[in-house]
């Protein structure tokens, strides 16, 4: 037997050790979304405030945040003031009111301000199930073609908005570019 072969078990040990050590620093709650880079699912739901029916088509044409919220969800309350701030900056946010009591939800928007262009009333959680939502709040960033480009679990705060803003700005730029290309032949 050649001498170097004696080191094979040691090498295997270090390889295994390396992977196990790396595993210590992975976040087990980081579940990759199955929906990223896929079309936002079709839906047809009434809005919370006017009972007007909205569908997927109403999301197209603009980069949007789609925010899943509920009055029963404490982190949503933490997140809410910052969403209001983002809406004031001109960011289009659509709400999905997830398995909520309608009256409580309306009161919430009255009291805390309404950052949403509209909120659909997902009473049974069907749309949220199609979105793979596991809890609230969750926020999806959609491009102008209605494709989910990013998913954020947990509240959006000043602290974690930075990288999300980069994604958002990138998509706005992408949309402007696509618009420019489409419009140029007409001009």
């Amino acid at each position: 037997m050649k001498r170097w072969t004696l080191f094979i078990p040691l090498v295997i040990f270090f390889l295994l050790g390396f992977f196990l050590w790396r595993g210590l620093y992975l976040n087990p709650k980081d579940v990759p979304s199955a929906l990223v880079d896929k079309d936002f699912p079709e839906f047809s739901l009434p809005t919370l405030l006017s009972q007007e029916t909205k569908t997927r088509d109403d999301l197209l044409g603009q980069v949007r945040l789609v925010n899943v919220w509920g009055t029963w969800c404490i982190s949503c309350k933490v997140e809410h003031p910052f969403l209001v701030e983002l809406a004031q900056q001109g960011i289009s946010i659509v709400g999905i009111n997830y398995k909520d009591d309608n009256d409580a939800a309306k009161r919430w928007l009255d009291d805390l301000g309404n950052p949403y262009v509209f909120s659909v009333d997902d009473e049974n959680g069907d749309l949220s199930m199609d979105l793979g939502v596991t809890g609230a709040p969750e926020t999806f960033i959609l491009d102008a073609n209605g494709v989910v480009r990013h998913k954020h679990q947990g509240p959006i705060t000043k602290g974690n908005w930075g990288p999300l803003k980069t994604i958002y700005d990138g998509l706005v730029q992408e949309a402007n570019l696509a618009n420019g290309l489409k419009q140029e032949p007409n001009k």
Binding site: A34, G125, G132, G135
Partner: protein, 192 residues
């Protein structure tokens, strides 16, 4: 008292199953009734429901299946699973439905593909490798034991029970001579 009650319950369940061609799946203390199809269909649906509730992982929880978890999402998914099984959908369709929404995270029994092939066959491959190494080592030692003179040259440890005292002495001499300087001989060493 409890025994009597559970016996009564068991009989009711049996009566239900054979009388009205209804099947029951009891998951996490809840009863799920399957009564839409024929008796055989209902039975296999109840079985499928139980199997999938145990095999699908609650996406919100770290290590609970749909059957065990009380998280809101797990309750919703159990309901969805129940209605899909009742409609007569197959296991593959239902698993696809879940994976399309929640990712492969929900599978306690991951699908076999290029990403998971090591997960499935890695342990067997390692075991086979270990067996091969073991067999090779054993065969080599046997060969060495069968022909001691050759073994001394190749591997003096494995064969040292088979050499005579005179041979051992000579080996020791040679080793001593070689240990200080590979090229020096015994007389040289004494002179130094």
């Amino acid at each position: 008292m409890m025994n009597l009650m559970s016996a009564v319950r068991f009989i009711t369940v049996l009566l239900f199953m054979f009388g009205a061609q209804v099947s029951l799946a009891i998951v996490d203390g809840h009863e799920y009734v399957f009564e839409e199809g024929s008796a055989i269909e209902n039975q296999s649906r109840a079985q499928l429901f139980k199997q999938l509730a145990e095999e699908l992982r609650c996406p919100k929880c770290q290590n609970q299946n749909l059957a065990d978890s009380n998280a809101m999402i797990a309750q919703d998914l159990r309901r969805e699973l129940y209605s899909q099984v009742k409609e007569g959908k197959g296991a593959d369709d239902i698993v696809d439905f879940m994976v399309n929404r929640y990712g492969e995270f929900v599978l306690y029994r991951p699908a076999l593909n290029e990403k998971t092939i090591f997960l499935w066959y890695g342990p067997i491959a390692l075991l086979v490798l270990a067996l091969l190494v073991f067999i090779v080592v054993v065969l080599q030692r046997r060969k060495a034991a069968a022909s001691p003179e050759q073994a001394v040259k190749k591997d003096n440890e494995s064969a040292d029970e088979n050499i005579s005292a005179a041979e051992q002495q000579r080996i020791d001499q040679l080793l001593q001579a070689g240990s200080d300087n590979g090229q020096s001989t015994a007389p040289h060493k004494e002179g130094e």
